[in-house]
Symmetry: D4
Amino acid sequence: MPDPIVIILMGSDHDFSIMKEAGDILDSFGIPYEYSVASAHRSPQKTVDLAKTAEDRGIKVIIVGAGKAAHLAGTVAAWTTIPVLGVPIDASLGGLDALLSTVQMPEGVPVGTMGIGKSGAKNGALFAIQILAVSDPDLSLKLHQYKARLAREVDEKDRKIKENRRLSV
Amino acid sequence: MPDPIVIILMGSDHDFSIMKEAGDILDSFGIPYEYSVASAHRSPQKTVDLAKTAEDRGIKVIIVGAGKAAHLAGTVAAWTTIPVLGVPIDASLGGLDALLSTVQMPEGVPVGTMGIGKSGAKNGALFAIQILAVSDPDLSLKLHQYKARLAREVDEKDRKIKENRRLSV
Amino acid sequence: MPDPIVIILMGSDHDFSIMKEAGDILDSFGIPYEYSVASAHRSPQKTVDLAKTAEDRGIKVIIVGAGKAAHLAGTVAAWTTIPVLGVPIDASLGGLDALLSTVQMPEGVPVGTMGIGKSGAKNGALFAIQILAVSDPDLSLKLHQYKARLAREVDEKDRKIKENRRLSV
Amino acid sequence: MPDPIVIILMGSDHDFSIMKEAGDILDSFGIPYEYSVASAHRSPQKTVDLAKTAEDRGIKVIIVGAGKAAHLAGTVAAWTTIPVLGVPIDASLGGLDALLSTVQMPEGVPVGTMGIGKSGAKNGALFAIQILAVSDPDLSLKLHQYKARLAREVDEKDRKIKENRRLSV
Amino acid sequence: MPDPIVIILMGSDHDFSIMKEAGDILDSFGIPYEYSVASAHRSPQKTVDLAKTAEDRGIKVIIVGAGKAAHLAGTVAAWTTIPVLGVPIDASLGGLDALLSTVQMPEGVPVGTMGIGKSGAKNGALFAIQILAVSDPDLSLKLHQYKARLAREVDEKDRKIKENRRLSV
Amino acid sequence: MPDPIVIILMGSDHDFSIMKEAGDILDSFGIPYEYSVASAHRSPQKTVDLAKTAEDRGIKVIIVGAGKAAHLAGTVAAWTTIPVLGVPIDASLGGLDALLSTVQMPEGVPVGTMGIGKSGAKNGALFAIQILAVSDPDLSLKLHQYKARLAREVDEKDRKIKENRRLSV
Amino acid sequence: MPDPIVIILMGSDHDFSIMKEAGDILDSFGIPYEYSVASAHRSPQKTVDLAKTAEDRGIKVIIVGAGKAAHLAGTVAAWTTIPVLGVPIDASLGGLDALLSTVQMPEGVPVGTMGIGKSGAKNGALFAIQILAVSDPDLSLKLHQYKARLAREVDEKDRKIKENRRLSV
Amino acid sequence: MPDPIVIILMGSDHDFSIMKEAGDILDSFGIPYEYSVASAHRSPQKTVDLAKTAEDRGIKVIIVGAGKAAHLAGTVAAWTTIPVLGVPIDASLGGLDALLSTVQMPEGVPVGTMGIGKSGAKNGALFAIQILAVSDPDLSLKLHQYKARLAREVDEKDRKIKENRRLSV
C-alpha cells in the first residue's frame, strides 16, 4: 500500500458515514489516503501533531469534516501550510453553525470550504484531486473523463424522464 | 501589582475597544488581570502555551473575545481545565457566526458563552467575578452591592422618565 | 445524602431527558445536586424563591435548561449572584430561539451559556465542576483525569478507523 | 390628570425614543397612561411589583419594549392576567433575538407581540386601544375614524405620485 | 348555543389540528366561538366579508392561524378594528416565514402575534380571554384561577422529579 | 399618453426611490405604465379595487414593491389572474421578512418574486417586459438588444480593469 | 402530441416528485410541455443549448426547479430572453439556500421566483399559464374559472368545519 | 511580464476594492495573475470562454468574487477542472446569500469557498498559493515564512497591549 498523500480527518467516528464519501472518491481515482480521528477540543495535542507532521510525511491535502462549532479544519490550518479543505457536518441547526465556523476564517489562515454533508465530503475529495492535478497531467485527464461522465449521466436521466412522459401521455 | 488571576484574551488588538469593558469591570472590583493577544490561527503555539500554563501561573478564569469563525475560546478550553468564558464579537453577520462558533462546543469541552459585543465583554468580567466569589465571601458581598446598585440605577431612570412625562403633560 | 451544591433546573419535566445528561456527569464526579422544576412564566414565585434562597442553602452553581423564549436562566440570574449556566433546548426553530433568549443577556446580569441540547446539558455540568474546581484541588485533579480520558477515547477511535481501513483495502 | 389605564414599560431609558411612539398614539386618543422603567434582570423586584399591582391600580393593558434577550414582556405576563403587549427593539441582530425572546412564549402565558421597533411601538398603542374599545363604543368609533384617515392618507399619496408622473412625462 | 364572540379562523382545514388547541381553551372557559376557514388568497371575498361583518355580529376577538406567507391575520386586521391575534403555523422553514409575515405589520394595523404552532394557538385563546376579561370580572377571576393551577402543576412536576431522584440514589 | 399596460404599485411613497428603478426601465422600452400607491393594510378597499379592475382596464402585469410583512403583492394576486411580480423592500431584517412574505405564497395564487431592493425593482420591470414580449416580437427584439448591451458593458469593464492592471505593473 | 410551449427543467431526476406538480397543472389546463433534466454544473453545455434554442423552438416559458446552490434558473435566464420561473427545492437548510440562490439575481437578468417545494412547483405552472394568458383570452377564462373553484373549495371546507363543530357541541 | 497562472475574476468592477486584496497578496508572493470581469448572467459566453480556455492558457487556479445569488464561481467550476475558489461578497443580507450560493454546490462540481468579503479575498489568494506550493518547494518555503511573520505580528500586538496596560495601572 503506497504512502497516503491525503488525510481524511474527522472529529469523531460518528462522522465516518459522511466522510466515507470522500474516501470512496479517492479510491476511484487511485489516490492513496488515510482516515484519521482527532478532535480539536478533546485531543488537541493529537490534532496539532497530525497537522505539524503532515507535510513532512508527504501529505499534500487534508480534508476535514466536523459539526457544530466546527473548529477542526481551522485548527489544522493553523499548524500547516498545505491546503486544508473543510466539510461542515449537520449536527445541529441544519449545519449552519458548522458552515460558519468552518468558512469564516480570519485573514491569513484559509480553509477551502465545501457544502454541508455528504455531497460536501464527496466534493472535498474531488477538490483535493483538482489540487493534485495542478501538477499531475494524468490526474487532470482523469478529471476531464469524470466530468464528461457526469454530463453523460445527466443525459441519460433526461432521456428517461422524457421517455416516461411520452409513455404516460 | 499583584499577579493576575484572570486573563482577558483577544485574537487581535482590533478587539481591544470591546474587551476593555471587561477590564474596566475587573478594575472596579479590584481583581488583578492581564490583557493578552493571541490568535488561534495566526499564533497557535502562543495560544496553546498561554492555555497550558495558565493554571500553574495562578490564573482562575480566562475571558476570550473573538469574531467570525471564533475558535479562540474553544481552543483555549481544549488545553486547560479552568473555566473559559467566550465573548462573540460582531465582525460580520451581526456576530451570529462568532456566537455559533463560540457556543456550539462538543460535549466534554465547554465554553461559558456571553452575549455579542460590549455588553458580552462586560458580562464576561462579571461572570468571572461570580466564579471567583464562589469561594470568596468578600467578593460575593461586593456582587450583592453591585446588584443593588443596578436596581437603584433603574429606579433613578424610572423616576426621571415619570417626571419628564409629568412636566410635558 | 449530602446537601446539594448544584441545582439542575428545568421549566418542564419534558426537558428531563435532556437535563439528565447534566445529572449523570455530576454523579460521576461525586457532586451532590438536586433536580428542580420551576417555570419562569407559569410558576414565577417558585422560581424567584429558588433563586433567592439558593446561596444561603449552600448552592454554588445553578444549571438551567429551557426552550423557546427561554427566560428561565435569565430570571434566575436576576435574583442571585451565584453563577447561572444556561442550556438552550430545541423546542422549535432548531433551538435558535432558546439560544438567543438565553445568551443575549443585558449588561450586568450574565448567563454562562452552553450549546443547544444534550451536549449542552453535559457541558453545563462540566462547566459547573470547573467552577467548583477553582477552589477545590481534588476536583481539579479529577478534571485533568477526565480530559486525559477524552483524549484516550479519541485515540481509540482513531486506531479502530485506521484498522478498519487497513482491513478493507 | 386622570389615573393611567395603560403602562408603557421599558427596560432602559435608552428605549424611550422608540416607546414614545406608543405614548404619542395614546395621547392622540386621549388614553391616560404612564411611562415606567423597570428591568427584568437588573431590577426584578420592581418589575414584579409593577406587574402584581397593575390590575388593582386599574391598569388595563401593559405595553412592554425590550431588546436582545427581551424577557421583560414575558416576565410581566408571568405575574398578571391583564393583556401584555411586547415590542421587540433592535439592539442587535436586527432585533431578531428580541422578537424571538418576546413571541415564543410557552403555553399558558401569552404575550401579544408587535413588529420590531418604532412601528411596533406605535402598533402596540393601537392594539391597546383596540383592546379597550372592546367594551368602549366611543373608543371604537375613534378607531373607525382613525382607520378611515389612514386610507385617506394613502389616497393622497397616490394622487401625488400620479401627478408627479404626469408632470414628468 | 349562544352567539359566538370569538372567531377561530384558519386558511385551510389542514391547520385544524393546530387551531383546535385554541377552541379547547375557549370551551374550558365557556366562551362561545366559531371555527371558520377562509383564505386571504384563495377566497379573498369571503375573508373580507368575515372581517367586515365581525364587529356587527358581536365578535370581540378574531384568532387567525396561517403558515408560509401568512397574510390572513393581516388581511383580517385591515378590514376591522377589533383585536386580531395571529398564530404562525410551521408549514416551512420552521415557521419563521409565517412568524415574520404575521408580526412585521406596518404601523397603523397591528396584529397581536403569538408563538409558532400549537402553544401559540393555545395562547391565542388565552390572550383572547384576557382581552375579554378587561371588562368582565368573572372571566378575570377564572384567569386568576387558571394561573394558580399552572403554578400548582409545576409544583407537582417538581415534587415528582425530586422523588424520582431520591428513589434512584 | 397611451393607456398604461403595467402598474407599478407600492404600499407607501417611501418606497418610490426604489420602485422608480422599475419605471425607468419601462420608460426606456417605451412601455406605458402608471405608478400607484395603495396599502394592503391601510387602504384595503383601494387595493382590491385596483386589482379587480386592472385586467378590464387593459393592464397586463402588476409590479408590486413592499417591505416588512409584505402582503401587498399577495393581496393583489388574490384578486386578479394577471401576472403579479413582487419586489421585497428592505425596511427591516435586511429585507428577509419582506422576501419570505412575498415569495412563500400558498398553492393556487403565485407571485413572481424578484430580489430585494433596487435591483429587484429593475428586474421586475424587465420581467414584465419579458412577459409582454411572449406575444410581441418587436419587444422581444429589444430584449435581445438589451441583453447584448449588458454583455458589451461587461466587456468594457473587463477591458478597463485589465488596462489599469497593466499600467500599475 | 402538439409541440411543447413550456419546459419543466430540473437539475436531477431526484426533483421529479416535486416538479411533477407543475406538469399536472399544465396537463389540467391543456398546455403542451416537456420535462427536461439538465444541470447547470454537471452538464453545462446541455443547459446552455436548451436555453439558447428554447425561443426558436416555440417555448414561451421555462419553469426550473433546483436545490442547494440553485444556479439552474439563473443560468438559463442568462442565455434566453423568455421568462424563466424558479422553484427552490429543499435539499438542505429548509430550502433557504435554494431560495436565496434563485431569487437574488443581479439587475438585468431576472428570475420570477416561486415558493419553496411542491406548492412552488404548482404555482410555477400557474404563473406560466398567467403569462400565456396575457395574450390568450381562452386561457384567461380558464384561470378565472380555476380561481372561482379555489374559492368554492374553501367554502366547502368552511362548511364542513362548522358542521363538525355543531355536531361536537 | 510573465503569463498569468491565476485569474482573479469578478462579476462587476464594483467588487474590485474587495478583490484587490487578493491581487496584493499574489503580488507580494510574486505570482503572475490577471484581473478579469465577467458575469455569469450578463456576459455568460465570456464567462464560459474564460473558464474553458483557462487550463490551456496555463492558468492553475481561478479566484472568483461575487455577491447576492453568487453563481459565478459555480459557473466557472462547471466548465473547467482546475481549482476554483469562491469569495462571497456582501451585497445584501450580510453576504449570507452569496455565501450559500457559492458553497452549497452539488456533488461533482466543488468550489473551495472562502469567508465573506475582504478577508475572504485575501485568503483566496493565500489558498491559491497553497495549491501552487503543493508542487513548488520555493513557494512552500515562502508560505512558512509568511506564517511565521503572522505569529510575530501577534507577538508584537500582545507586547504592546501589555505595555499599555502596565502604563495605565
